[in-house]
């Protein structure tokens, strides 16, 4: 009996140690510097709020955090889309002026691999910059660093919240350099194929509400010949 108990205790301890090793793995950090930081091309920077109340709408299965916004928005409860969320946000240019609207739709990815610190999400941005054009950004994002450094510390905190500064690049693919794929749709962007990176800057998170203070940024590399000078670049 005592051998059985010690064996069981050993198995539980082993599993816990394994989980702790995964969680504290120093080699499994997200990157804070965008792969586009070294490009010579012009960059189009679009910023947005990731706080639900500051979006136009945010919807999910209705049971996840953050809660859908506004409260009466149709929820994605059907089994095929229960792991999917969507939000529509105003996008601002680098001067903080409204530049357009972005629709982001994202789903938990089947490529998620906890052993390799990959909490993957497949996402697309359908963006319209009125007067300039439209484009689609498709990307794979890794939320491991965000979970480990923001969400889990918030759950561990006695106040069920987190405050600090977390800056991370979410995009990890599908391009080889860890950038997203951008495909032009209409207007000045028609026919272009380029790269983008999405990053987040979080400073407050609540277990009950989700992001309380968090901004996102979508940085798009502009092909030199494709877009005129009116497009805000930095």
């Amino acid at each position: 009996m005592k051998y059985g108990l010690s064996l069981l205790l050993g198995i539980v301890t082993g599993a816990v140690i394994f989980c702790l090793l995964l969680y504290f793995n120093p080699f499994a950090g997200g990157q804070a510097i965008s792969p586009l930081a070294i490009t010579d091309s012009r960059l189009l920077s679009l910023t947005f709020s990731s706080v639900p109340d500051e979006t136009l709408i945010l919807t999910n299965d209705g049971e996840s955090v953050p809660a859908p916004y506004p409260a009466k928005v149709l929820q994605l409860w059907e089994p095929t889309i229960a792991h999917t969320s969507a939000m529509v946000v105003m996008l601002a240019n680098s001067r903080g002026e409204p530049a357009g609207v972005g629709i982001k739709i994202w789903s938990e990815s089947e490529t998620t691999d906890i052993l390799n610190a990959a909490l993957m999400v497949d996402s697309v941005w359908h963006v319209i910059l009125p007067g300039k054009g439209t484009f689609l950004v498709d990307q794979q994002e890794n939320y491991w660093s965000y979970m480990r450094e923001v969400v889990i510390p918030a759950h561990r905190s006695s106040g069920d919240n987190w405050r600090g500064t977390w800056n991370g690049v979410m995009t990890v693919g599908p391009n080889a350099l860890g950038t997203a794929r951008v495909t032009g749709g209409s207007g000045d962007f028609a026919g272009i194929a380029t790269e983008a990176v999405e990053s987040r800057l979080a400073s407050a998170f609540s277990v009950a509400k989700g992001p309380v203070a968090m901004r996102g940024s979508l940085t798009i590399m502009l092909p030199d010949e494709a877009v005129d000078d009116e497009v805000e670049s930095e």
């Binding site: 005592k2 051998y3 059985g4 010690s6 064996l7 069981l8 205790l9 050993g10 198995i11 539980v12 301890t13 082993g14 599993a15 816990v16 140690i17 394994f18 989980c19 136009l56 709408i57 919807t59 506004p70 409260a71 009466k72 928005v73 149709l74 059907e78 095929t80 889309i81 792991h83 999917t84 969507a86 529509v88 409204p98 530049a99 357009g100 609207v101 629709i103 739709i105 789903s107 938990e108 990815s109 089947e110 998620t112 906890i114 052993l115 993957m120 497949d122 697309v124 359908h126 319209i128 009125p130 439209t134 689609l136 498709d138 794929r181 495909t183 032009g184 749709g185 209409s186 207007g187």
Partner: protein
């Protein structure tokens, strides 16, 4: 006792690793793709949106009652002439299989765009001409796709079909999308000895 604890510890480490390796963390629910083969034209698939019950968002500057209730659509001249919608999208069996965004742009070159995201299959991005043909159909091309749609090319047709009477579940019409997609031809290098 110490030996059995040590053995259990190693077993626990291996079991945890094995479990995470074998058991998928995310397993999206799939619906069977309902496609028909078109002669020399690839696969045809019909998707649709039941209106108004599948509309998640309807945003336009001059809309009297934007959807959802409580939506504060920006009163910004920048967005005049732009209509943004978000829908649940269904297959021919009336099963919801994804979420789709539709953007209608005004100006000198009006357009309609669809981005259809199906979690278990991938995303397809279509750009359509704003003008409808005599049968009320708008057509366009697949601009790009991800995963299942990444190697495909083809066309899409959009049309609105009004129901004669509102059905018991509140459906007054459907927005139908018919896609005809085919794999792009791959260039194959001739093998040695092949006659060209």
């Amino acid at each position: 006792m110490f030996k059995s604890f040590t053995f259990g510890l190693i077993l626990g480490l291996i079991a945890a690793a094995g479990l995470l390796y074998v058991v998928p963390v995310v397993d999206q629910v799939r619906e069977r793709s309902i496609v028909s083969v078109k002669a020399n034209g690839g696969n045809r698939e019909t998707l649709h949106v039941n209106l108004p019950i599948d509309r998640i968002l309807a945003g336009r500057a001059d809309l009297q009652t934007p959807l959802p209730p409580g939506l504060e659509w920006p009163d910004d001249a920048l967005l005049s002439g732009t209509q943004i919608e978000l829908f649940k999208i269904r297959n021919a069996n009336e099963k919801v299989i994804g979420v789709a965004s539709r953007i209608v742009g005004g100006g000198e070159q009006p357009f309609i765009e669809w981005a259809i995201h199906m979690p278990a299959r991938g995303t397809s991005y279509f750009v359509l001409a704003d003008a409808a043909n005599e049968s009320g159909e708008r057509t366009g091309n697949l601009r790009t796709g991800t995963r299942e749609f990444s190697s495909l090319s083809g066309v899409v047709a959009e049309r609105y079909i009004a129901e004669d009477t509102t059905t018991s579940d509140g459906v007054s019409g459907r927005l139908e999308l018919t896609t005809s997609l085919v794999a792009q031809a791959e260039k194959v290098a001739p093998a040695e000895g092949d006659e060209l």
